[in-house]
């Protein structure tokens, strides 16, 4: 059965894919919908949804258009989620691959290092990093990557260890290939499926982390994000519920979509695993 057929059999995953595509499209066409950006004051503050035509989600404490903020926030969430995941993979994959393939003291050292990072409460570390490096898109992305790579390293290490024991790896060795070529050309390509599944879930976690940091006031001050919208509306929850409700809903839907896609990918890429056995 083809990849797409297996993926499409999981209805939740298809729903997730549609949802994610919608969010991506909204993020891409944001400047076309609201050319003035999310910052200008468009009406008086605290307008409820649909109180005034053209403002379907109302205005915030400073009279800014909540819908415009939501649309631009999608850009930040997706961007930070994607880039920080790629960075985490760039740290975790080489580390785990070397540890699993070469073993010995390299493995021991790499795993102690990974364990150390896993012991540190990761959200607290992200807060400390962003606070000290000053909040900016770069520092946020970097901090999320720094706290997200350990599970990747462990996964890749375990996969590489198991693949390295296969016969075709012995064959490659007999054929005289160098260690590096065996690792890069023979072993790593066979560990890609679980890495893809994990990466899709990591994007979801990264989006949650980014929004949590922004909520605490650690967002990039020049960029509108969902977490910032909720954080700014926190103290007025009693009088203006819509200011925190809609951005939160956007986060839930986006993260849910990515999680569903992750499960679908798992079904499609690892068909030998029984559906029941997955976590």
């Amino acid at each position: 059965m083809s990849f797409w057929k297996r993926f499409a059999r999981n209805r939740g995953a298809v729903f997730g894919l549609v949802l994610l595509l919608a969010v991506i499209i909204i993020a891409l066409i944001a400047p076309m919908i609201y050319p003035r950006g999310p910052w200008p004051m468009v009406q008086r503050p605290f307008l409820a949804p649909y109180a005034v035509d053209g403002l379907p989600l109302g205005t915030d404490t400073l009279g800014r258009n909540v819908a415009a903020g939501l649309v631009y926030g999608a850009q930040v969430s997706l961007l930070v989620g994607l880039i920080s995941t790629v960075m985490a993979l760039l740290i975790g994959v080489p580390l785990g691959a070397v540890a699993g393939f070469y073993g010995g003291w390299l493995d021991e050292g790499a795993m102690r290092f990974t364990e150390f990072f896993q012991t540190i409460p990761n959200f607290a570390l992200a807060i400390v990093l962003v606070a000290i490096l000053e909040p900016s898109l770069t520092s946020i992305t970097l901090s999320i990557a720094i706290v997200s790579w350990p599970p990747v390293a462990r996964l890749v290490r375990a996969e590489v260890m198991s693949v390295s024991k296969r016969e075709y790896v012995d064959a490659a060795r007999l054929a005289g290939l160098s260690n590096l070529r065996i690792l890069v050309g023979q072993v790593l390509p066979n560990t890609v499926s679980p890495i893809i599944v994990m990466a899709s879930l990591m994007v979801a976690t990264a989006i949650l982390l980014e929004s949590s940091l922004s909520f605490l006031g650690l967002g990039d001050p020049n960029i509108m994000s969902w977490g910032y919208q909720i954080g700014a509306a926190r103290t007025v929850i009693r009088s203006a519920w819509w200011l925190s409700f809609f951005p939160g809903l956007a986060i839930v839907l986006t993260v849910l979509a990515l999680n569903l896609i992750g499960e679908g990918l798992n079904d499609a890429l690892n068909p030998h695993l029984s559906r029941k056995g997955r976590t």
Partner: protein
């Protein structure tokens, strides 16, 4: 048979980890833009010249780098976490003052999430593929995708603002001057919403894990044997499957301790719960790095302690691990 040996080993490792975190903190202070002394004093003009000079002397900032490092780590190991100029008190005092509230909140949330998570996970696995299972799994997926702070805000909105059932703010009723049982009840009513919202996310995690683990163990041979012996399904589920399925859940619960503390920062911020998470949030706005780093170190220490406790519990549940440890 003895568990003293492994525990000593764990303690040694714990001290090493804390040492590494202290070193990490030191480098972070130096990574911050600007003069480390000014960083420690908190920016925003809180520090005068004399204070900065005192700080330089205290941290030996005119000394070579490795001596500075030694001084800093030495301070941390003697539990001197520095002074918060913002709050006008030693950081350690500030943290110890707030720690009980955080412990009450996180331990309650942990208890709720583990108990409910396991119960719902078992329930879902017993009805695998049926509507009840889909419903539970669906709820878990949604909780899993919900930002903690947003769930907390929505809980305040519904249960405190709209329905008026529970207080949505603070640790106890200010100015009520309750004593004894009345005070305990008051604190408990303030605890319900923060603990539930903090616990919901983890409940979803434990539920999914329990469900998957139950289904996996159910396919093993000894379960077939039990079934062949004619034991009733509920006895097999309780006595044979659950006991083995719990182990990975306990491991995961131990690993999640760090997340729980991170979650406490968000929950305490929303509910104005006077714990170390709220302290961290307040210090962020004030750029009080000394306090931020102190909270970070103490939360890491809590996680390590928690992991040691889980390890011991684990050994008590499963004798096989005690022997091989």
């Amino acid at each position: 048979m003895t568990i003293v040996g492994p525990v000593l080993g764990r303690l040694f490792k714990a001290v090493l980890t804390l040492l590494a975190i202290a070193i990490l903190n030191f480098f972070l202070i130096h990574a911050a833009p600007g003069d480390p002394a000014a960083v420690l004093a908190g920016e925003a003009g809180a520090a005068d010249e004399q204070m900065i000079a005192d700080l330089r002397a205290q941290f030996g900032l005119d000394q070579p780098f490795y001596i500075q490092l030694g001084t800093y780590v030495g301070n941390v190991l003697t539990l001197d976490l520095g002074y918060s100029f913002r709050q006008g008190a030693p950081v350690l005092d500030l943290i110890l003052d707030r720690l009980p509230a955080t412990l009450i909140l996180t331990l309650t949330a942990f208890g709720i999430s583990l108990t409910l998570g396991i119960m719902l996970g078992v329930a879902a696995s017993a009805r695998v593929g049926k509507p009840a299972d889909s419903l539970l799994t669906g709820f878990a997926l949604i909780f899993y995708a919900t930002p903690l702070y947003w769930a907390a805000l929505m809980a305040v909105l519904v249960f405190s603002v709209q329905l008026g059932w529970l207080p949505g703010f603070g640790y106890e009723t200010v100015g009520a001057d309750y004593t004894g049982l009345q005070r305990v009840g008051d604190i408990l009513s303030h605890l319900v919403l923060p603990a539930l919202t903090l616990g919901l996310f983890f409940m979803a995690v434990y539920m999914r894990m329990t469900r998957a683990s139950m289904l996996e163990v159910a396919q093993q041979d000894f379960v077939k044997t039990a079934r062949a012996k004619g034991l009733s399904p509920s006895v097999i589920r309780r006595r044979h499957i659950l006991r083995n399925a719990l182990l990975p859940v306990v491991t995961l619960a131990g690993l999640q301790a760090g997340q729980l503390i991170g979650g406490a920062v968000l929950t305490e911020t929303v509910f104005a719960w006077p714990g170390i998470g709220r302290l961290m949030f307040e210090s962020l706005a004030a750029r009080d790095y000394n306090t931020i780093l102190g909270v970070f170190l103490v939360s890491a220490a809590m996680v390590i302690l928690f992991n040691i406790v889980t390890d011991i519990v684990y050994g008590l549940i499963d004798p096989r691990i005690r022997h091989t440890a």
